[in-house]
């Protein structure tokens, strides 16, 4: 999700919108690192009960929700052309990552490709990475 800051860098967003987005992302990222560190430590050293494991998992995802919220606020601060660019890039990213995940799922099922445990964790970061690249590509198309 840290790549979302790249989106900010390559966009033409109003300065105050970009600054607020960067600040929100830094806060969410620090929270994410802290909570992940604690969650992994607790899970490995204390063998917590199921309810606590679920709580740790949900707590780990919470900062990512803050990142998405930050992106939502960033998007809301853009003008209509910039929103068009972001929307096209997001559509491309979701399409590419979704298609790649589906294709690999079939390869796992039919062709015995290795099964990656916890692969779902990487879906959103992958969308963020592809989105960052797609924003640059889409913006160039409009130049």
């Amino acid at each position: 999700m840290g790549v979302m800051s790249d989106i900010c860098e390559t966009s033409t967003a109003p300065r105050q919108v970009a600054r607020r987005y960067r600040r929100d992302l830094i806060i969410a990222s620090l929270l994410y690192v802290g909570i992940i560190f604690v969650s992994v430590y607790v899970a490995r050293h204390f063998a917590p009960p199921r309810w606590a494991s679920i709580a740790l998992a949900l707590a780990s995802a919470a900062p990512v929700f803050l990142m998405l919220r930050a992106y939502g606020r960033f998007f809301g601060g853009l003008d209509e052309f910039q929103r068009r660019v972001q929307t096209e890039a997001l559509a491309a990213a979701v399409g590419i990552v979704g298609f790649a995940a589906l294709t690999y799922g079939f390869l796992e099922s039919f062709a015995g490709f290795p099964v990656f445990e916890g692969a779902l964790i990487w879906v959103l970061p992958a969308i963020a990475v592809v989105h960052g690249v797609a924003v640059a590509v889409v913006r160039r198309r409009y130049q």
Partner: protein, 70 residues
Amino acid sequence: MRNRLKVLRAERDWSQADLAERLDVSRQSVNAIETGKYDPSLPLAFKIAEVFGLPIEQIFLKQEAAQAAE
């Protein structure tokens, strides 16, 4: 859709950044509209018309109308 943004801007000696500031949009947005790569929404088109003090139809032209005029 074609538009006369570049000409109208030049007549007033405004840069893209000047126009962007008047419209409260980014300079890149003005550039994309000016080059015809992005058609503005109706509210933004009205705002552009207001900034130039002209009716919309004197700024934005349908492709066929623009070709006929040339």
